[in-house]
Symmetry: C2
Subunit: 93 residues, 2 copies
DNA sequence: TGACAATATTCGCATATCGTAATATTCTTA
DNA sequence: TAAGAATATTACGATATGCGAATATTGTCA
């Protein structure tokens, strides 16, 4: 019998990162829009900046999002194709 | 601006349930096969029965799987369409 | 009913996660 | 270089999660 080559560890890490309302909201919105910086997220979510940065850090470690600095601000976006496929599934159902 | 009607809480619960290697493995395999009872899972996973039952309970509470008794054993399967769409995405990528 | 198989639940403890607060770092610009 | 804006990190107490061990429940069948 042929083994399905799904990487359980990888997907577990992704799901773990998405398993929080704030982080799922961030990831979901980042998938819809091109990218976003931190202070705009804080404003939209109405959540303190350190908390948002912590969540961003978790999403980043799980390879759900990537960030790049532009001057003194950091823009984040979703690039991981596996993550994008998952997030697109939950849109508009 | 129109609100996207995605239920963050619902998907958070689903992702939380799937965010564990054992549970993701169980859910993934249940999506591939028609259904499975507990002792067969214990055997395949090589994990003690109480631990498997605990994970099944978590998956059940998150509406990821449903179980029905057949005599003195319980068969579980994935019926939730949202969950199936997510799990199908992670197959064969 | 008694014994056994299959599954579920409870308990206790170790570890992980969450959120707030405080502080540190990085970058820009005067 | 000093000040301020934007972001990141650390510390810590409260709560949640994971797992093994023990036990309870449910169903079958002699």
């Amino acid at each position: 019998m042929k083994e399905q080559n799904i990487d359980i560890e990888e997907y577990t890490a992704i799901f773990k990162a998405l398993a929080h309302p704030t982080r799922l909201t961030i990831a979901y919105n980042l998938m819809l829009k091109p990218e976003c910086n931190v202070s705009k997220m804080c404003e939209c979510l109405n959540i303190p900046q350190p908390t948002v940065s912590q969540h961003l850090s978790i999403l980043k470690n799980a390879k759900v999002i990537v960030g790049h600095r532009n001057g003194n601000q950091t823009c984040y976006k979703v690039e991981n194709l596996k993550v994008m496929r998952i997030l697109k599934q939950i849109v508009s159902n």
